[in-house]
Structures are given as C-alpha cells and as structure tokens.
C-alpha cells in the first residue's frame, strides 16, 4: 500500500473531522495556558482546506498536502497557522509519487524540520515539536523495520499521543504559554495535542 492521492485527501478530511470534533477540547487546553483559540483556529483552517480540496484537480498526494498547507497559512493565523501550514507544504514538497512507508517517513521529517525552522522550538519547549518529534522517530523506525503504512502510522500516532501527554510536566519556553513561566507546568500543550490528532487520523485512514 502506497500513500497516494485519495489517501492524502482522506487524511486531510479526517483531520478536519477530528479537529471539528475536538475543537472545544483544544480550546479548553489553550485557555488554560494560552489564549483560548487553538480549537477555533484549526477548525477554521481545516474547514477551508476542505473547500480548497473540492476545487482541486491534484496531480498527486504531494499537491494535496501542499494545497492544504497553503490554505492553512492563508486561513488560520496565530502560531499554529504558519507552523502547520509550513509543515504540510514541506511534507507535500518532499513526497514522491508513489510514496511508500520510507518515503512518507522522510516527508513527515521534512514537515518537522519546517516547523522547527520557523518556530525555533527545541524538544522539551512544550510545543507541537514535542509530539511531532517522537511521531517521526516512531514512523521512521517502523518503516525501517519493514512495517507497512498502517503499522508505521499507528506507531507514529501512539508516539505523538505519548509526546502530547509528556508535555504536561514541562514548563513552556516557546509560544504564548511561555509567558506563564512555572504556571504552565501541569497542563497539556494544545498544539502537541492537535499534532497527536494529525498522526492518529493518518493511522486511521491508512488502516481503513
């Protein structure tokens, strides 16, 4: 099984559905240590990606993800808009067609690189990076071990979810939560949580 155009479209649609469903939870997490808009930011952005995909004649899975990224940049704003936007654009740009597990692993890694280039966050800063980093590592390892897309994606999702949970005891050093200093400790990072949704939906659509 390869990561192809229908799968790329299904992934974006699944993220949009998951964000819609988890919107209030993401916003609640962001209210605790941010400004209470992460849910509505992503909801607005991924809703726009659906409209963008509807009008698209994609030339491959990369084009789908690039379009999604561009749309996120244009519609989300905030910190998460440019970060997720650049990530999906980078994944799209790095994605060969057809893409097997190893190629997708590298594309996802390119996404992480884009996030880190723009946001300058290190692992442990309590950001998106804390879910994305272990997810890419797990995906890579699984792919190297010969796993198929569904297994690699499932491993990545689990790692991302664990990474999101692991942000709880951290003190934020980047993004709005950093303003809270020690008061940011004890809360799960909203961006890491939405990144876990991104990888969980990838596992779901590849397993379907």
């Amino acid at each position: 099984m390869d990561f192809d155009t229908p799968l790329a479209e299904a992934w974006i649609r699944a993220i949009a559905a998951a964000v819609e469903k988890e919107q209030s939870r993401l916003t609640e997490l962001d209210s605790a240590i941010g400004d209470g808009d992460h849910g509505s930011n992503l909801q607005r952005g991924f809703a726009a990606t659906l409209t963008a995909l509807d009008g698209l004649q994609p030339t491959g899975p990369g084009a789908v993800l690039t379009k999604a990224g561009t749309t996120l940049i244009s519609k989300v704003g905030g910190a998460s808009g440019p970060l997720y936007g650049k990530a999906f654009r980078a994944i799209g740009a790095a994605l060969p067609e057809p893409a097997g597990p190893a190629a997708l692993a590298e594309a996802l890694a390119a996404g992480l690189d884009a996030v880190r280039a723009l946001g300058k966050a290190e692992p442990g800063d309590k950001t998106i990076v804390d879910a994305w980093t272990p997810a890419v590592a797990a995906f890579r390892t699984a792919a190297a071990d010969g796993a198929g897309l569904p297994e690699a994606a499932a491993a990545a999702a689990e790692a991302a979810e664990q990474g999101a949970l692991d942000t709880v005891p951290l003190q934020a050093r980047k993004g709005r939560a950093s303003y809270l200093g020690e008061r940011s400790i004890g809360h799960q990072d909203p961006g890491a949580t939405s990144t876990a949704l991104v990888f969980r939906t990838l596992a779901e659509v590849t397993a379907a």
């Binding site: 400004d35 808009d37 989300v76 905030g78 993004g175 303003y179």
Partner: protein, 331 residues
C-alpha cells in the same frame, strides 16, 4: 457568555462592516480584512502597516490615518492575521518608499508577518520589521518567546507615523520605531479575564477578591495571582516594577500611557492615573506627556496597563505632531 454579536464566527466581519460604516475616512476591504486610509498620501512616503489579533480595539484599525498607520490587518479575535492580509495591505499602500511592518512580539504575529515579508519581497517590495516587546511581566530571554508587545505599540505607531509623514526614509523610520520600543516598558494588572466569543467563557477564573498581576492582552493568565489592593498600592507596584527594569533615574522625562483593558470605567482609570502620577513624582520622574484611556484593550477584561517611554526632544516632538485617526487625533 453575553456579547453584542451576531455569531462568534462572524464577529470580525461584522465589526469591520461597522468600522466601514462609521469611518468614511477609512477604506475597509472586508473580504481581505485590510483597513487603509481612504485618502492617498501625496508623494512617496514610507508606508506603516500593523496588525494583530482582533479584540484589542482601537488597536490597530483605530490608528489608521494621516500621521500614524497607513494600513491595519486585523486577525480573528486574539489570533494573529494571516500573511495574505499583510501582503494585500502592503500592495495597497506602498507608494515607492518602502514598507514598515510594526509587529507585536507574539509567536503567531512574528511568524505570520515573517511569511508576509517573504512574499512582499518576492513581489519586489522593500520591507522592514519593527518588533515591539515592552512587557516587563515576561522574562526577557533568547531561550523563550521573549517579551510580549503591548502598550508601546501605540507609541511606536504614533512616532514612526509622524516621522514617515515628514518624508523620512525607510531605514530611519524603522530605526525610530526600534528606538521607541527600546525606550518603552509596560506592565498590566487584570481584575477579570476576557471572554473570547468562540470560547464562550472567560479565559481564566478569578475569585471576587483576586487579581492577575503581569497579565497579557490575550486572556493569558498573569505571572501570579494576589488579593485586590487599593489603587494606590497597585499603581505604586506597577510604577516601581517598570522603573526597576527600565533603569530610569530621577530627572528623567517619560511619556505615560495609562491604558484601560476594555471593561474598566474611565473613572477608575483616572483614579489609577492619579496614583501613578503621584508615585512617579515621588520617584523623581517627570511626566512630559500622558494619555489615559482605552487604547490596547483585551475585549471585556477589566484592569489596566501602564507604559512608560523615556522621552527626549525628538520623541516629544513626534508625539505632539498632528495625527488624524479614529482613536487618536491631534491638531
């Protein structure tokens, strides 16, 4: 949540319709979310563009006009605008002398303006960025997101706007903006949290007798929580906190902005300002100019921020220069 809105989703668009109706002197591009001066500056002039999340009105749209901003890009509530807005604004108001982006230091604002600057450069526009980071409540460190931009934005936009209006070149205008930012420090105290329409409830819960000290303008909680005290004590603490960080010494002159966070009655702001002025006098600091009112708000948050900008002849002269915007006018 009790708000004068139609739906949480349409707040920005609906408010822009109101801005357009209320201010014929502004041109409001609702689909692109860009507010510009309806008139065009006569010759080439450095174009000043600012923007940021909505919910801080009159910042930034209320400061568009002769002598201040050329364009403002309002994002969703408490969410930085997207690069497309700044690009559209830059294309609309650039008149051959380059563009200055005035950006409050928040991760989202910084990144979105950065992407916009890249896009504008691709289109051949010369762009400088002035970062505003005046909030002493936040630790200033290269390892973190750094200090937030708050009240100093008004000072930067006003003085840089005045300088641009006089025909100063791009680098000079940008340098002045950076100088004013460096000369400014702010600190805020909140009595209540703001309620973002889409969230539907206050960003944090504050008991009837407690305040958030060192709060931000996005409903982020502050650095610590304590009991409400008399205005005199709060004013003294805020002044002292700023002076300590700012290394101001007796004899120094400042421009003081006492800013309401949105739901603070003007009567209370004046009470606080009286105490601020008294404390500054005690500390030997002269207030050369002052401004008291709602300028950088946080929706329905009750509380205040104080900004002190070390003044000198040039800054005072630029501060006093004519300006004609919805929220700041001077003959």
């Amino acid at each position: 949540m009790k708000k004068l809105i139609n739906t949480p989703e349409s707040v920005l668009e609906d408010a822009l319709a109101g801005v357009a109706a209320a201010h014929p002197e502004l041109a409001v591009d609702i689909p692109n979310r860009v507010i510009t001066r309806a008139d065009r500056p006569a010759g080439p002039k450095v174009a000043l563009i600012s923007g940021g999340g909505s919910g801080h009105e009159p910042l930034h749209g209320g400061f568009v006009g002769p002598g201040m901003l050329d364009a403002a890009c309002p994002g969703e509530v408490f969410t930085s605008p997207v690069p497309d807005q700044m690009l559209a604004a830059a294309k609309a108001v650039e008149s051959g002398a380059g563009v200055v982006f005035i950006v409050k230091n928040y991760t989202g604002d910084v990144m979105n303006f950065e992407l916009a600057a890249e896009l504008a450069a691709e289109e051949g526009l010369e762009v400088r960025t002035v970062l505003v980071n005046d909030d002493v409540a936040v630790e200033d460190s290269t390892w973190t997101a750094g200090r937030r931009g708050t009240g100093a934005t008004v000072l930067v936009e006003k003085t840089a706007g005045a300088l641009a209006e006089r025909g100063a070149p791009l680098d000079e205008v940008a340098a002045l903006g950076e100088r004013v930012n460096a000369a400014s420090r702010s600190f805020a105290i909140a009595l209540t949290a703001a309620t973002v329409p889409a969230a539907g409830k206050p960003g944090f819960d504050l008991p009837e007798d407690e305040i958030e000290v060192g709060v931000g303008i996005h409903g982020e909680p502050g650095r610590r929580r304590e009991k409400l005290r008399p205005a005199r004590d709060l004013a003294a603490e805020v002044v002292d906190t700023i002076l300590t960080d700012h290394h101001l010494t007796p004899g120094d002159e400042v421009i003081a902005l006492l800013n309401g966070l949105g739901a603070t009655p003007l009567l209370e702001l004046y009470v606080v300002y009286g105490e601020v002025a008294a404390r500054l006098a005690e500390r030997g600091i002269t207030v050369a100019r002052s401004l008291v009112g709602n300028y950088v708000t946080s929706l329905d948050m009750a509380g205040f921020s104080l900004t002190l900008t070390k003044a000198d002849t040039q800054l005072l002269e630029l501060w006093d220069a004519p300006v004609d915007t919805p929220a700041l006018k001077r003959a």
